[in-house]
């Protein structure tokens, strides 16, 4: 059977089961609209470690252990762990997962990590290279602010377009076969640079990449937005959502009625001071695990297009006056029985 469709999309020969998904978050996420749905809300930003980076690693490790329990598959049975985060040299993932003793594939796609990981993991299983793969994504408000923007103690003002990095981690367990939510294929994104240079407006920087990947997905498969019950981006936030809907509309795709954005869902803009919305590798991961995955199991959604989005900047590239390229990786998730 032909797996490749169009320029960017593959359809798996058999559905790849997502047999479990876990979410661990920090206090602010726990106070948000989805607070009651996360597997674990940790009340301390330090998570009983001695640095924000170590805390982020502990979020990643905890998400792996919870996901393993929920899937009823010991960590030692996973043939690959695929993980990514935002920190320099993937510190969050590496120190969080160094004790797993599993074949490890590190990825970097900024906040699109969960999408890139699910894509690669799905292909490894559908290609016959593994039966069980775990995907992990993590981020931490404090380690991200410190690294990308200003020292927290500086108390800098945040412009209305700025996003709030989600503290937490998500993991997903993929297996060959299984029923319930399953990966059916993926559309791998290209690097798209809209020329945005404002590191406080990542929604704008990523919107073009999201539009590019979603439009490619529809073109590659000859599908319309109505095929999906929901089209869910990672962390475009309010600014990015508006741009995405405009850009896709110009291409002839109207997705407004079914578009959701994890960055919008995770916080209450009016009461939590999160401005544009949530961001970070954990954002799309924990919202998927705690909300969309669960609602698929309950039958509220049967077909979703999940499109984690990433802003591919570094502090150095921003300081050198570079623009901020974006990327978005889409995965098709459908209920399978």
């Amino acid at each position: 059977m032909l797996k490749r469709h169009g320029e960017q999309t593959v359809i798996f020969s058999k559905p790849v089961g997502i047999v479990a998904a876990s979410s661990v978050v920090g206090p602010k996420e726990g106070e948000g609209p989805l607070g009651g749905r996360f597997d674990l809300v940790e009340n301390g930003l330090m998570f009983e470690t001695r640095s924000w980076e170590a805390a982020e690693s502990k979020f990643a490790k905890t998400a792996v252990n919870l996901c393993s329990c929920k899937a009823e598959i010991p960590v030692g049975d996973f043939e690959y762990i695929i993980a990514g985060d935002l920190l320099n040299q993937s510190t969050g993932s590496i120190f969080g997962l160094r004790d797993t003793n599993r074949p490890y594939l590190g990825i970097f796609g900024a906040c699109s990590a969960m999408g890139e990981g699910l894509s690669i993991g799905g292909m490894l299983i559908d290609g016959g290279f593994a039966q069980k793969v775990m995907i992990v994504a993590s981020s931490h408000f404090c380690s991200a602010e410190k690294q990308f923007r200003f020292p927290l103690e500086f108390g800098s003002q945040r412009p209305p377009t700025s996003s709030w990095t989600v503290t937490g981690a998500a993991a997903a367990a993929l297996t060959a076969g299984g029923k319930g939510p399953a990966l059916m294929g993926c559309t791998t994104g290209k690097i798209v640079d809209m020329g945005v240079k404002d590191a406080h407006n990542m929604g704008a920087a990523m919107a073009g990449a999201a539009a590019d990947t979603i439009a490619a997905h529809f073109r590659d498969l000859g599908r319309n937005p109505s095929y999906y019950d929901a089209i869910i981006t990672g962390d475009l936030g309010h600014v990015g959502q508006e741009l995405l809907l405009q850009m896709l509309s110009r291409e002839g795709f109207e997705i407004a009625s079914r578009h959701r954005d994890c960055g919008i869902e995770i916080f209450d803009k009016d009461t939590q001071g999160t401005l544009n919305g949530g961001s970070g590798c954990a954002c799309s991961g924990v919202v998927f695990a705690a909300y969309f995955y669960e609602e698929m199991k309950r039958g509220k959604y049967n077909k979703i297009l999940f499109v984690p989005t990433g802003a591919l900047m570094s502090p150095t590239s921003v300081q050198q006056g570079e623009s901020i390229p974006g990327i978005a990786h889409a995965v098709i998730i459908e209920n399978w029985s």
Copy 2:
């Protein structure tokens, strides 16, 4: 046919051709023992850009374009580009490849990038998801020193165990089928932490990971070192080589007569002041492309185990007193007709 063997190894159902490999390096690499073999030696460390980071990106971009020419496959025909480097948020790869307009999978495995990329790329082709995949790895002495160690202007003394980051980039073009050097399978490494905390001794930090992956490879396939004409690590250097040989000997694997290390090959220790040897994502990539790949085509080697090695540290993790975990990803490359 069973693709999975033992805990960490897969064997492809058909060989995946490496139809071209390119290498672009800086001036010091050009003066080394392999100087005449590289596709392009650029004499300026800035590569006519305005920053070391932009230069690294230009090395990556140039390697892609050269590889495309050598493979006689337009860049636009590759279904995936898989790329990794050492810089924060993979700046080298992202800005170097943002104009390629191809589905992009970013990876992070520090200097093991070429091994991780070849592994994933091989699996994507053997799994039927692509016909053509390009792998890219880059590094730059100045951008790495600035980021990981001291400002160059500081002129710090280097201890004898320190490595010299290779300036340059390598690319490899993979296709379904083809003859000559081909990927036959891979052994994906685990994160291995030997407790080494000295950021100037990465050979020691990585030796354990290399030994772990190579021993797993032999166990998984029931092979002996004599199966291979050469077993080639990435950038262990002189210190790491000695440790690797000791550790493998203790496990019952004697590889001394066939072990080569790209970090040792690329520089002349006695005249170039490179101490432990070369390192960086480009190190194993350019030595493979310019030397081992070419010597396989000439028939000097027919079966090699190529094992790029990575030290998974960040400046933050080192400053916080963390040890330096290592990782090594092995790929089997054999001549195929």
